[in-house]
Structures are given as structure tokens and as C-alpha cells.
């Protein structure tokens, strides 16, 4: 991108919530906010799956850990009201610890075993969140925790409406800027990571673990690091999610969420930051677009045949299959990966 394009792009990103708010209303700005959170999650998973090549099917567990960390420490549930700048890093740290706990026993496993174990881990976390309301009520069970303190950074009350520069800045718009800032930081972080010594070691492990090890790469520590870093981003994103939503329950952290985040990474282009972002944006906006499918079916067929939720999952499923068959590198892949997948491979 040229400098002019970059500035234009930044302007678009900065004015997007205001324009959306005026044109489509608060609801759509909220969707943008969620899209940003999903971008963060997808970039986090991208470190694990895209860079290090470890298929993680339980990624949403880290999101859940971050979210519950914030929910427990700043809500009336335990009557604790820690500020966001304390809960967010703590949530990230706890999520990272969970990442290492999950990573440590699974390091020796090959891709498909790892997928199953991570999937099981995600389910275990959800089962615990669902059941840890007895004998001591920690997570409040399936009802979840509500009345979580809203997004506040010191004196900045991001959930309130401000009047500034003759405009009304509503809560969802303010949250957008906070999330955008977080996403930008994550993008820079990912980008620097990708080209660092660690990033190169990860791609070596991804391509051929045995060769990487014989080149003196400490595969165990680096895989753990990938898990921990991916989990950290999941935790941060979860903390922001809890504060933004004001409510968390185990229902938000099902396997389908994990699969959806994986879809974002895979469909967008594994290992490529821009691709992953595009994947995350498309897949988080798509459900909203599919809401129109219900009325459309009513008009055409007289009744709703496929409801929006089913349609979304059905489309995801079919998209995953078609994508792997037709364009395994994703919508917008890194050039190296495209070359790799379209050259004739020598199978082992």
C-alpha cells in the first residue's frame, strides 16, 4: 500500500462506526464491535494454527477463561469491582497458564490427536463452567454471571454517551475505538512475531517437525509458547467481551464457537494476517446478513424452511469442505502458502 492508501484506509476505519451509526443504527455498530473481537480471537488462533501448525479445536476455552476472569473480578457476584486495567492482564495471564497446561501434555501428539485433545479440553472447561455452582457457587452455573462492570478505563466511561466536537458518541462507538486499538496492537504484535526468530522457528516446526528439531530448534518450548501466546490473545479478547456484553454464560463458549473461529482462520488464509482478518470480518458479519434469509424464504416459499442459525452452520460446513477441495490456501493467503499448496507435492 502506498502512503496515501494507508491514510485513506485509516480514515475509513476511524469514521466507520460514526457512518454506520448514522446509516444503520446502533445495532450494526455493535456487530462491528463483535467483528473486532472476533478478529482478535482469529489472530490469536492464527498463531497456534497458522504459524505453528497446531490444530486447536478448543480455542474458545481461552476466550471463556478470559471472560470469566473479568466477570468474577468485576461484578456483584463476588462483590468485587476490579478495574479493567487489572482484570484484563490477569485474564490474559490466567488464559496463558491454561494454554501451557493444555499444551504440556499434548506436545508429543501429532495433528489429529492434538485436535481431539484440545476439543476435549474445550468441553471440559465448559462442563466445569456449567457445574461449578455447587457446592460453592463460583461460576453461577448455566445462568452465567450478569451485571459485569462496563468498559471503563479510569475516568473514561466508554459505555456512556459523550458530547464531543458537536457529535454524540454513544457507548458502542466508543467501544469500537478501544477494540480497534486492541486489534491494531495485536496486528503489529502478530506481524513482528511472524518475522522474528520465533516466527521462523514456528514455520519450520509447521513444515517438518523432525527437521526443525534436528536444526536445533527447541520444539517443545516453542510449541508451548505458541499455545501460551494464542491463549493470551484469547484471554484479552474474552475480558473485553465480558465487559462489553455485561453478561457471560457457558452457552457462549461451545465447540461451535471454536469451529467458527477456526473457520475464520482457514477460510481467510492460514498464517496470513490480512487473510485472517478478512475471514473474521466475513464470518462475523455473515450471520447478520443471513437474518434476511428468513423473510426471504417466507416470501418465496411461503414459510421458513431453514432458520438463520441452521443456515449459518450449514453454510459454514459446506464452505469448509469446498474451500479445502477447491482453494485450500484460503481467500487471501500468504504467497508462500499458495505456492506450496499448488505445487505438485511429493507425498511421504
Amino acid at each position: 500500500m502506498t502512503r496515501v492508501q494507508k491514510i485513506l484506509f485509516a480514515m475509513v476505519l476511524l469514521t466507520l462506526p460514526l457512518v454506520t451509526d448514522l446509516a444503520l443504527g446502533h445495532g450494526w455498530v455493535r456487530i462491528l464491535d463483535f467483528a473486532l473481537l472476533y478478529i482478535m480471537l482469529a489472530l490469536g488462533l492464527n498463531i497456534v494454527v497458522g504459524y505453528a501448525g497446531l490444530l486447536d479445536l478448543g480455542y474458545v476455552a481461552f476466550f471463556a477463561v478470559g471472560a470469566y476472569c473479568n466477570a468474577l473480578l468485576s461484578s456483584p457476584h463476588f462483590n468485587l469491582h476490579w478495574p479493567l486495567w487489572a482484570t484484563l492482564p490477569l485474564g490474559a495471564l490466567v488464559a496463558a497458564a491454561f494454554g501451557v497446561v493444555l499444551g504440556a501434555p499434548t506436545l508429543k501428539l501429532r495433528g489429529d490427536y492434538l485436535a481431539i485433545v484440545t476439543l476435549g479440553f474445550g468441553e471440559i472447561i465448559r462442563i466445569f463452567l456449567n457445574n461449578l455452582n455447587r457446592p460453592i457457587n463460583i461460576t453461577n452455573g448455566p445462568q452465567g454471571i450478569d451485571l459485569i462492570d462496563p468498559l471503563r478505563l479510569g475516568p473514561l466511561q466508554l459505555d456512556q454517551s459523550w458530547h464531543f466536537l458537536g457529535l454524540e458518541w454513544v457507548g458502542v462507538v466508543n467501544s469500537y475505538y478501544l477494540f480497534l486499538l486492541a486489534v491494531v496492537l495485536v496486528v503489529i504484535f502478530s506481524h513482528r512475531l511472524e518475522n522474528s526468530r520465533i516466527g521462523r522457528a514456528w514455520s519450520a516446526i509447521r513444515e517438518d517437525e523432525i527437521a526443525a528439531r534436528s536444526m536445533g530448534i527447541n520444539t517443545r518450548n516453542l510449541k508451548l509458547l505458541a499455545f501460551a501466546m494464542g491463549a493470551t490473545l484469547g484471554g484479552v479478547s474474552g475480558g473485553l467481551f465480558a465487559a462489553f456484553q455485561g453478561f457471560v454464560s457457558p452457552e457462549s463458549f461451545t465447540l461451535m464457537e471454536s469451529v467458527m473461529i477456526l473457520c475464520m482462520v482457514v477460510l481467510g488464509g492460514m498464517g496470513h494476517i490480512a487473510g485472517v482478518i478478512i475471514g473474521a470480518v466475513i464470518l462475523s458479519i455473515l450471520p447478520e446478513a443471513l437474518r434476511a434469509a428468513g423473510p426471504l424464504q417466507e416470501q418465496l416459499l411461503g414459510h421458513v424452511v431453514v432458520d438463520a442459525a441452521s443456515l449459518r452452520l450449514l453454510l459454514f460446513g459446506v464452505a469448509l469442505i469446498l474451500m479445502m477441495l477447491l482453494r485450500p490456501e484460503g481467500i487471501y493467503p500468504a504467497s508462500s502458502r499458495r505456492r506450496e499448496l499448488h505445487s505438485t507435492r511429493v507425498s511421504s
Partner: protein, 307 residues
């Protein structure tokens, strides 16, 4: 002691269902080194097809036993074609692709099948028609129902049949050859694509039977029932040593018993802190423990990664 025996009986019943499903995973893994993620969904389809068929046939005035047999046969047929299609669409084109690719298509197939099933059968639980006349025998406090008895016996018969097929027939020999070395098998005139397709078909037939059993045992079917069952069956396959047929059977039985005993005793052991709602955790704990301490499973042989 009576509780212990009762849980043992329940565990054996569950375990033989797990074993049937686990055989499907392990056969595919043995040949393709691929986890067929959609296998649990095949079980689910088998169960739901059988429930619908039984209801339909009873409506037509068929006698109950005949309706059940016809339903099992039909659901086997449906699942076998499903297995064939899954292999054709999702796995065969990706034979030489990176390992991640077939895994992701498998997840896609699994999602798509679940949603299609929810469109056909709805999102609510469907009860299994009460056609099976369940008798129960009691020894002291231990109760064994005729349903449990027949589940275990039929499973054992099927497993024996499968072992016979794999060990004694030329198809079985071809399957073993393909599992050992696909390239060499091909050079010896084995049509490995046909063998792989047949492996999926046989596995799916077993899945159909398991689906009917699990629906009859719990009395309900649901479009998401395949997920947890598939996961547990996979655990059973790993526990027994993946790729190893007797291993899958032993693994299934052991897992069923561990789960039943665990769910039965966890309340007592932890003083009521954890209840039987944690029963699904056991399978995962077993899985993780096996993978850490003994990744080749109970009966698996150590295999070296080819460089």
C-alpha cells in the same frame, strides 16, 4: 457391592456400543491415518433413520420385531451410502493434501450433517418407540434388562464377525495389506481406493447398528447425539491402541466401565462436591492420560513416524 456390579453391567452395555463405534474410527485410522470426524454423525443418522422407520412401519401395521429388523437394515443401508459419499466427497480428493485439510473437511461434513439432520428431524429430542418388550432379571440388587443383554450379545457377535472378515477373507487380507503399506498393496494388485471405500462402508454399517442401540438404550435420539458419542468412541479407540481392532473392542468396554463406575462413585469419593453431571469429563481424562503416559494404547504397537 451391588452398586458396583450394577454399574459394571451398565458400563458393559455402554462399552459395547462405544466399541462398535470405535471400530469404525480405528479401521479408518489403520488405513488412512486419519480421524474420521464425521463418524459420530453417521451414528446419529443411523439412530434417527431407525426411529423414523420404526414409527412409520408400526403405523403401517407391521409387527414390532419385523419393524425393528427392517429399520436396522434400512439405517445400515443409509449409513453405508453415507459413509461411501463422505469418503468420496471429503477424503478421496485430499489423499495427497496436507494433513490438516481432510481434518477440516471432516469437521465441515460433521457440521453439515448435523444441520441437515436438524432440518429433517427437528431440534427436539425424539423418543425411541417402545417396541422392544424389555424384561429384566434381578440377581439380588443387580438388575439386567433384556435390552442390555441383547446389546452386549449382538455387539460381541458383530465384533466376532468383523474379526473373521478381516482375518479370514480375501477382502480382509486386502484391508490389512493396505493398512500396512498402501503403495506395496497397490503394486500387488489391490485396488486400494475400493478397499478404502469398503472400509468406510463397513465402519458406517457398524455405526448404524450402534446408533440404533444407543437410541434404544437411552430411549431418545437427537441431532447432536453423535458428537459426544463419537468423541468417546474415539477415546476408546485410542485407549485400545488406534488402528488395532481387538484394541478398539477392549478400549470400548474399558471406557464404558470406567465411565459408569466413575459416574456412580464420584459423588461418594468427593463427598458430594462433584456429581454425576461430570461423567462426560471421564472420557476426556482417560484420553489425556492415555496420550501422556502410554500413547500407543493398551494393545497398539509402537509405530515410528516416517521421515
Amino acid at each position: 457391592m451391588d452398586i458396583f456390579l450394577q454399574q459394571l453391567v451398565n458400563g458393559l452395555t455402554l462399552g459395547s456400543i462405544y466399541a462398535l463405534v470405535a471400530l469404525g474410527y480405528t479401521m479408518v485410522y489403520g488405513i488412512l491415518e486419519l480421524i474420521n470426524f464425521a463418524h459420530g454423525e453417521v451414528v446419529m443418522v443411523g439412530a434417527l433413520v431407525a426411529i423414523s422407520t420404526i414409527n412409520g412401519l408400526l403405523g403401517l401395521g407391521w409387527p414390532a420385531p419385523l419393524a425393528v429388523v427392517a429399520a436396522v437394515l434400512l439405517s445400515m443401508l443409509v449409513c453405508m451410502s453415507l459413509g461411501f459419499i463422505i469418503e468420496r466427497v471429503a477424503y478421496r480428493p485430499l489423499r495427497n493434501a496436507p494433513r490438516l485439510a481432510p481434518l477440516i473437511t471432516a469437521i465441515g461434513i460433521s457440521m453439515a450433517l448435523q444441520q441437515v439432520a436438524s432440518l429433517i428431524w427437528g431440534r427436539s429430542y425424539i423418543s425411541f418407540p417402545s417396541v422392544v418388550n424389555v424384561q429384566s432379571w434381578a440377581w439380588g440388587e443387580v438388575i439386567v434388562t433384556s435390552l442390555q443383554f441383547s446389546i452386549v450379545v449382538i455387539s460381541l457377535l458383530i465384533m466376532a464377525g468383523l474379526m473373521g472378515l478381516v482375518q479370514k477373507t480375501s477382502l480382509g487380507r486386502a484391508m490389512r495389506a493396505t493398512a500396512q503399506n498402501p503403495a506395496a498393496a497397490q503394486l500387488m494388485g489391490v485396488n486400494i481406493h475400493r478397499i478404502i471405500a469398503l472400509t468406510f462402508i463397513i465402519g458406517s454399517a457398524l455405526a448404524a447398528v450402534a446408533g440404533v442401540m444407543v437410541a434404544a438404550y437411552y430411549g431418545v435420539g437427537h441431532y447432536t447425539m453423535g458428537f459426544m458419542l463419537g468423541l468417546k468412541a474415539f477415546t476408546a479407540a485410542v485407549l485400545g491402541g488406534i488402528g488395532n481392532l481387538p484394541g478398539a473392542m477392549v478400549g470400548g468396554l474399558v471406557l464404558g466401565i470406567v465411565e459408569s463406575l466413575g459416574a456412580g462413585y464420584i459423588g461418594d469419593i468427593t463427598g458430594g462436591v462433584l456429581g454425576s453431571n461430570y461423567k462426560d469429563v471421564f472420557a476426556f481424562l482417560v484420553l489425556i492420560a492415555v496420550l501422556i503416559f502410554h500413547p500407543t494404547g493398551l494393545m497398539g504397537s509402537r509405530s515410528r513416524e516416517k521421515v
